[in-house]
């Protein structure tokens, strides 16, 4: 293998992939364009907006700040992996729908993945804790209030 290519074995939403990728390819681009999982969105490509957040071994990570090659051996979860079945939504997704926690929906996948990890750590968060946990994800449409409500609702329903 030449220096500018890398061998990558990774599991995404439970499916195992083995690929030969350019060493400089961003993980976000690999997920979106090589694997066709376009639910992960790229908003800023410099790690600020959080739209491209996915779970890497259960931990939220900005996939625009990681090379695909660095995910070798990791288990990834993207927004496509949240729902239990194609015709059903995850409780977090349901809560976002019920509380109008999304408008254009572009930042939403990153927020869902961030909140999934957050609620796993803190099942009974206060509003201040939710806002703190959300503060690394930018949303330009909602003003956050309905997102906070959605996360609260999801937490209540899951308890």
């Amino acid at each position: 293998m030449s220096d500018d290519r890398a061998r990558l074995t990774t599991t995404v939403n439970g499916t195992r992939y083995e690929r030969d990728v350019e060493a400089r390819m961003l993980l976000a681009d690999f997920i979106r364009h090589d694997l066709g999982l376009t639910g992960t969105h790229v908003g800023c490509e410099h790690g600020v907006c959080g739209a491209c957040t996915i779970l890497v071994d259960g931990v939220p990570v900005r996939s625009c700040l990681m090379f695909a090659a660095q995910a070798n051996g990791c288990a990834l979860t993207t927004v496509e992996g949240l729902a239990p079945a194609p015709d059903r939504l995850h409780p977090l997704q349901e809560a976002f729908r019920d509380a109008h926690g999304l408008q254009c929906g572009f930042c939403t996948p990153g927020i869902l993945m961030t909140m999934k990890a957050f609620l796993a750590e803190n099942a009974n968060p206060s509003e201040a804790e939710i806002r703190e946990a959300l503060s690394g994800n930018l949303c330009r449409c909602t003003g956050y209030q309905h997102i906070v409500d959605a996360v609260k609702l999801a937490a209540e329903r899951t308890r």
Partner: protein, 779 residues
Amino acid sequence: MTRQFGASIKRNEDARLLAGRAQFVDDVELPGMLHAAFVRSPHAHARIVSVDASAALARRGVVAVYSAQDLGDYWRPGPVIVPPPPVEGAVFNERTQVPLAKGKARHVGEPVALVIASSRYIAEDAAAEVAIEWEPLPVAADLEHAAAPGAPRVHDDLPDNVAARVRQTKGDYAAAAKRAHRVVKRRFAYDHGCAQPMETRGVVAQWDARAERLTVWDTTQAPIAIRNGLAAMLGLSERQVRVVAPFIGGGFGPKIMLFYPDEVLIPWAAMKVGRPVKWIEDRAEHFFATTHERGQVHDAEIAVDGDGRILGVKDVFLHDTGAYDPYGLTVPINSQCTLLGPYVVPSYDSTFTAIFTNKPIVTPYRGAGRQHGVFVIERLLDVAARELGIDRAEIRRRNLIPTDAFPYDNEIIYQDFTRLGYDSGDYAPMLAKALDMIGYERFVREEQPRLRARGQCVGIGVVCYVEGTGIGPYEGAKVQVQTSGKVSLLTGIGTQGQGHFTSFAQIVADQLGVAVADVEVITGDTDQFYWGAGTFASRGAVVAGNAVNEAGLAVRKKILRVAAEHFECAEVDLEIADGRVSIAGVPGRSIPLGELAVLANPMRGAVAPGTEPGLEATSYFGPESGATASGVHAMIVEVDPETMIPTIRKYAVVHDCGTVINPMIVAGQVLGGVAQGIGNAFYEQLAFDSEGQLLNATLADYLLPTALDVPRIELGHTVTPSPLNPLGIKGVGEAGAIPVGPLFAQALEDALDLPARGKELNEIPLSPCRLWELAGSPK
């Protein structure tokens, strides 16, 4: 069935968006697709001596590099989107953007060359290898500097940098000032930043040589206008061009430009190379390649009588239009008109001069200049109140247009070229409600003195505004009952998150007796609906909503007629509910809508003259003029005197957008607007240096509000239906964002007790640093 119109129905579009299945432009993948990158000017103003693409072309994977010379006759300046309004004596110098800079570049980031390659990575490698020899020119960056005599000229063929000058008057201001008890003069600087939707812009184009059809996926707010323009530019018929604006990740104004250079070039390049081409703007490009709104400087005065009643307002202001002015005068006209607000202003004398600068183009961004005007009138009222010893809320109350004065004629010309009139409204109850929600009296009398005594810097503010919404020309909709019994609803007006898939469905669901979830709304695809203008000026629900209403009513009539024939009964005996048409009071005598749709499209027999097959209707709606929405915002703020960091303790909004289709969606629009207003008021500012270089072109430096910056907002509303459309709707999209600047300034001034120290806050944004500079140490 309970009424669905007016209810907080969950959105039809959400499941797709939440599951990651919604298609955005960057999700389009086509076989053989190539990728584009632009070479952009690093200078704000520089002559292009030469462009050498040989090194870039030699790179493996590069297919083509184009500069202005390669475009031949295709190179031409863009159209003026909105021509200047018919105001006597108006000056307008049309200088519109070009596909690729030729001769010289006029702002940093102006595209100079286009690289097409097998991947975006390679296209960017090659873009860095395009060698351009530059001869830098003196720069006109700062607005007032660019307006001064002898400033470097952005357009060599003009004598100066004046893009436009418009004076509008009402009554006799000079006479009003002469008899006034007091005339208050101030200079105001209002800067509005850029929209920064979370999805940047992008274009994908595919030319099918066998079908001779061009398909373009574009993050535009106006797909139909893009289709029409591209067909004309490329020498194709409109039927050969399909423009799709799929799910769009936020728009807020700048995604309607007609045309951005990339929108002109990517389809052309796809035809040229015979393969699909994708260009997705990156965030760094977005700061230059997508339009801004930016600043104005106002020298304004208000003449008042001894009771604080407005006798007149005079305003002279400069508007920064950037390097080109394709949007005509829309932004400064909005400033000029919206300044009048919900108040009786008997005389008005307003003149603006739009100035070319060596900075990216200025076009409307949520509020579209209204913020600037609202800031001026609200601040003037604050100063007048203080000088006359009148309470800030009281001076507003005294000047509100009375309830019996509607329709109210402001006598000047608005952005839609009609006389600026307010169709309806009821302002005094809104103000009272907002004051009640924020607890104004109690705060001023009890809380503030108590907290101040404890050394806390707390202040309150209250501001009023109006918003002209829902302007023409028109929108259309086609409603059709499918043989499945579901309803399809087609419209040309695209969506950028406003909930069109649901709000429009709610309008027809009741009419046709189906659930909202059974109405499939299709927007933003020119092959599905041919006519329309676009999503802008808070007009979707007003203009398209009423077209949907009329189409739905026409389909209802057809349903009743076909069902009456089927049952051989009178139409008045029929009722439509739960997806069926039934004879009232006769159990078992009913037919599903889907079966009726089959009957309306028979396989044998003839369609009677004057009738059409199917349960389908198309309608258009064009209001004579815009419906005027209104609102009042109030805020309690606390400032840390050490850091000057403000914390919003309470924020209340009362708004009136006429009839509400979906309260949940309207609430979302208002909350999101306020958040953008907070960003604008607090710290969003494009920081240009004197050389026209943008110093904060990343989201790490240009700060957008986070969940920690936007407080919980309390919403209240009043309803005065608009008489200008059958549904009584007024627009709401921009409302929340408009009055936050003057509210911030007023509340901060109060919190820091600045007037007591002879200081005022007459500019926006007010970042902690700027606040410190303006306020000085409170101790």
